[in-house]
Amino acid sequence: MKLSRLANCTRNLTWETRLPEDEVVEPTLRHLVERGASRAQPLPRLTRLEIGAHALVVVGTRVQIRLSYLTPDEERRYEAERLFVALMDAVRAAGLTGAGDGRRSP
């Protein structure tokens, strides 16, 4: 899995990654909910998980990490990486190995 920053529009608030395969998605989301995330489905095929002040928006294997705009500039990368690690942990906990070590793109 690789974490990429979407350099568009709002500074460092939106990041993306992909889960390794379709089968990973549901168990990973369930794991995150068990760890305290709240889950909603505002659109068909689209799941939104609220984790603290931030959100993960999932469609297929695509996961968009949306940080709260209140996150101070200097903490945005750290917060995105923290959520990315939590996501990888959830993938591993779901019994899957495709998460790898995780990489972050520049």
């Binding site: 979407l6 568009n8 659109l43 095929r45 469609v59």
Partner: protein, 421 residues
């Protein structure tokens, strides 16, 4: 928002114009909003620009607030002030704290007003700002104060004395009494019949209409968060009064026509550029969003699909009935509007124009052709400033737009032919 107030929202069938309390409103993102206001200030200077923008906001918000107070049965000043604040926040403009005396004077403060906060986010690390940006909040607060205390239109004026864009901790608008000024009668839903034309069917019509309906439904559920901001599609979004946009553009261009006719072309180019900014940022980010992937599709590189998508987005944002009757991929695109949100205002306020005035629509048409042909959507492009410059700056554009018909001139439709250079 209560049911009674929600029911004040309406869609004009066949026209894709949206109204709230009878006042036309549209969705725009912070990139557009900041560029729009910046262009007004460029034309008029900061002081006169702020004065026009706050006046236009006051005039644009008055009918909406009056309708809301009426629907909610809010008669007391305190009820009205509270309700006004809620409405402003629900529209994504921020949640100001309003403290107003019975004579209409007072202050409005806020740490997350849309313009100030978004300016700091976007430009705060690049340039310093000497002047406040929240003319919309100032005008809104003045309108709320007037209506809360039954004061005549134009009798309260908002002046922003502190602004987060100027590195103050919070924005602070001072409300003072002024001699009432007569208001231009604002364009309202009930007057639209004089200006809108029967809808026409364009290419991919059924799909455009269906997607527009779906996206409109989704946008209907979007509202400001606890701070009154809407952070969606990677941008800060507002539902905003169309009369505000129109009055500020047309008044500043007309002022320049009086003062400095030699550079009117540059001002018109700026406002067409605002159309590029809108399409690139708002349309582009919607197309790249997970929500779009869920509702429509993962974007690919077929120019026709991108054009079709953009038309649906424009309709859902309340921009009017946009269609493409003719397109030859790689060569030519004809975009037409039987209704757009600019022309009715111009005709209502000034009558027929001697030249084309649908600036945003024209700029947007060109930008749609550019996004459709030059962006590799399948590669999830980064829609940043550098990419914008590569697409739209100077010779990078590669396409040109010609307005062949324009509703502000009395034509049946507005039509823009976009061709490869």
């Amino acid at each position: 928002m209560s049911d009674a107030i929600s029911q004040l929202k309406s869609l004009m069938p066949g026209c894709d114009l949206t109204f709230f309390g009878g006042a036309p409103y549209v969705f725009h993102c912070h990139h557009y909003n900041l560029f729009h206001d910046q262009s007004v200030d460029d034309v008029l200077g900061e002081e006169a620009g702020f004065a026009l923008r706050s006046r236009a906001a006051r005039e644009a918000f008055r009918p909406l607030l009056a309708a809301v107070f009426d629907a909610a049965g809010a008669t007391l000043p305190v009820e009205r002030i509270e309700l006004a604040t809620q409405i402003f926040a629900a529209l994504g403009h921020g949640r100001p704290s309003l403290s107003v005396s019975s004579d209409g004077t007072g202050v409005a403060t806020g740490t997350h007003l849309h313009y100030g906060f978004a300016w700091r986010e976007k430009y705060g690390k690049q340039v310093k700002r000497f002047d406040p940006v929240d003319a919309v909040a100032a005008g809104f607060a003045a309108a709320a104060s007037e209506l809360a205390h039954g004061l005549p239109p134009g009798s309260v004026e908002g002046t922003e004395v502190n602004c987060v864009a100027m590195q103050h901790e919070q924005c602070r608008v001072s409300l003072s009494r002024v001699a009432p000024t007569p208001l231009a009668e604002p364009l309202a839903e009930r007057m639209m019949a004089d200006y809108v034309k029967p809808p026409q069917r364009g290419l991919w019509e059924d799909e455009v209409a269906a997607i527009a309906d779906g996206l409109r439904g989704f946008l209907g559920g979007v509202a400001g968060d606890e701070r009154g901001l809407v952070h969606a599609f990677n941008v800060f979004v507002t539902a905003h009064m169309a009369n505000y946009y129109n009055e500020t553009i047309f008044e500043s261009v007309r002022a320049l026509e009086e003062r400095s006719p030699a550079v009117v072309g540059a001002a018109e180019s700026l406002f067409r550029e605002a159309g590029h900014v809108c399409v690139f940022n708002t349309f582009g980010n919607i197309i790249l969003s997970p929500e779009w992937e869920s509702m429509v599709e993962k974007p690919g590189d077929d120019p026709e699909r991108i054009v079709m998508s953009c038309l649906a987005i424009a309709r859902s944002l309340g921009f009017g009935h946009w269609l493409v009757p003719e397109m030859k991929v790689g060569e030519r695109m004809v975009m037409r509007t039987t209704t757009n949100y600019e022309a009715p205002y111009y005709l209502h306020r000034y009558g027929r124009s001697a030249k084309p005035r649908c600036y945003i629509t024209t700029g947007a048409a060109l930008a749609i052709a550019v996004l459709a042909h030059r962006v590799k959507w399948s590669e999830s492009p980064t829609l940043d400033q550098a990419y914008y410059d590569a697409l739209f700056r100077g010779d990078g554009l590669g396409w040109e737009a010609e307005v062949t018909r324009d509703q502000t001139m009395g034509d049946e439709v507005t039509e823009i032919v976009v061709s490869r250079r």
